[in-house]
């Protein structure tokens, strides 16, 4: 049985970074959706269930924490892997994100394009193992 390629949602308000992540993930062959804030991300998740979400914390309109509260990953989307992807290493916010169902925290500044792909592969392998692939 072929491994399932994950669908990735990137929630990032910085235009240049949003575009970069989309290019990297699309070039690597992943079906990629992008949103510029939590509200847009919620809208996308109504029609598409992503496997992995890269979630920025500080965003206008709806920030990452507000998105997690509304999206309720623990209760409603337990199979979706959420990576907090922020340049603010604020322990309190990161702890809150974990409590709300985030799986990982990655400081954006330390993730090169290859490392971004590796995170997706690792999380995807975990999911595939979970379904016996």
């Amino acid at each position: 049985m072929a491994k399932i390629q994950p669908t990735v949602l990137v929630v990032e308000d910085d235009l240049a970074l949003n575009d970069a992540y989309k290019t990297i993930l699309t070039t690597a062959g992943y079906s990629t959706h992008v949103a510029f804030n939590g509200e847009e991300a919620l809208e996308i998740t109504k029609s598409t269930e992503p496997d992995i979400i890269f979630l920025d914390l500080r965003m206008p309109i709806m920030d990452g924490i507000a998105f997690l509260k509304a999206y309720e990953p623990k209760r409603k989307h337990p199979h979706v892997k959420i990576v907090v992807f922020s340049n603010y290493d604020m322990q309190r916010e990161v702890d809150e994100a974990y409590q709300l169902g985030a799986e990982r925290y990655v400081l954006k500044a330390w993730a090169s394009p290859k490392e971004l792909i590796k995170i997706v592969q690792d999380l995807s392998d975990q999911s595939n193992r979970a379904v016996g692939l």
Binding site: A16, A20, T23, T27, D89, K108, A109, W110
Partner: protein, 373 residues
């Protein structure tokens, strides 16, 4: 405050001589429409308790307090850290005592037997007023410092985003996401990428230092075994050592070396020291890390045979923005903040860090960490 209404000013006289108290109390009564409420304490130890509890608005301390002195009480009270003024009562001509009382941050002094009700009243009001101004200045400085810390934090975070953008776009080209490039192009872009990485490291170090300076670093201590921690760090950094053909040897006297530490912070400390050992050693040189311990302390030694540090420079090694010039420093391009942060973290653990080094021979950093909290 001692049972005074809001417009009353409570004063404690600390004096072991009742006659003195009677004279001073009489002088207080001569102050017209006085807001001062005087109380008397003849015991040195009881006075200390009142000082600890901040019971009074003003303290008048006699110099002679039986086997003790008012200067001892001043030393105990540390008036420079308190809002209440302390005034010393001295004998006539005690210039030396007056000077010492000023050094110990007394607000003023009065010569016993010579001051009138008017002078007493003015001295008390002036001391209170000066303390209030000091307090305002202090609050202003605290506010300025907080603003500075917030600015560094905000600016650093803001700087990270564009630098992260550069990392992604240059990284995409270097890692083949947008087609092939020539070796010459790769060489130029690699320099741009590394330069940007350095900027990201500076921002990160600035943030760490701003947080530790602002007292925002709270240790999350747990009982941790340092042996697997070091094994893990060496494993993670293996590629760096391989690239530089450096061999890292790890020795430990015990199978387990447990201490109550903030594991993540100590991990970063060890990473920092090992990283320095590698960067400031030539290709092919050996690096050692050794851990030992007794019942109270765990000792971590990071030993390199690198460029070493001259005796004159060793003293400023743990200072902020200290850059030591050596044959590899230009190449390494450190921030001068790493070892400052390391020392702060070790200090927070109530441990110590020392350095022994010889130019061209190598350096040993030794950390002593208390095992218990």
């Amino acid at each position: 405050m001692q049972n005074t209404s809001s417009n009353q000013i409570s004063v404690l006289l600390v004096d072991d001589d009742e006659e003195d108290y009677i004279i001073i109390e009489r002088t207080f009564r001569q102050i017209p429409e006085s807001a001062f409420v005087l109380e008397w304490c003849s015991s040195f130890d009881q006075a200390k308790q009142h000082i600890i509890s901040h019971d009074y608005d003003i303290y008048l301390l006699d110099y002679q307090l039986g086997e003790h002195t008012g200067l001892e009480l001043l030393q105990f009270a540390e008036p420079q850290k308190r809002a209440e003024p302390f005034i010393l009562l001295t004998g006539a001509g005690d210039r030396e005592i007056e000077k010492r009382s000023m050094k110990l941050a007394a607000a003023d002094y009065l010569v016993k037997g010579t001051f009138t009700a008017d002078l007493l009243s003015r001295t008390l009001y002036y001391s209170l007023g000066r303390k209030q101004i000091e307090e305002q200045r202090l609050n202003h400085l605290i506010e300025l410092n907080r603003t500075k810390d917030e600015f560094i934090s905000l600016a650093s975070h803001q700087l990270r985003t564009p630098a992260t953008g550069v990392k992604q776009y240059v990284g995409m080209v270097l890692e083949g996401f947008v087609g092939n490039i020539s070796e010459a192009q790769r060489s130029v872009l690699t320099k741009a990428y590394e330069s940007n990485e350095r900027q990201l490291r500076i921002v990160s170090d600035l943030l760490k230092v701003a947080q530790v300076d602002a007292g925002k670093v709270k240790l999350q201590k747990t009982k941790s075994d340092i042996v697997p921690l070091v094994i893990d760090i060496i494993k993670e950094q293996q590629q760096t050592y391989l690239d530089r053909q450096q061999k890292v040897t790890f020795t430990h006297t015990d199978d387990y070396l447990i201490a109550t530490i903030d594991k993540e912070k100590i991990r970063m400390v060890i990473e920092n020291l090992l990283d320095n050992a590698s960067k400031y050693s030539d290709i092919g040189k050996a690096i050692k890390i050794a851990i030992s311990g007794d019942s109270d302390t765990v000792v971590i030694e990071v030993i390199d045979s690198g460029v070493g540090i001259g005796t004159d420079d060793q003293g400023k090694l743990f200072e902020k923005f200290s850059r030591i010039h050596n044959p590899l420093s230009t190449l390494v391009g450190g921030t001068g903040l790493g070892l400052y942060w390391v020392k702060k973290i070790i200090d927070l653990h109530k441990g110590s860090i020392t350095v022994v080094s010889e130019e061209k021979m190598g350096t040993t950093f030794t950390i002593h960490l208390p095992r218990s909290d």
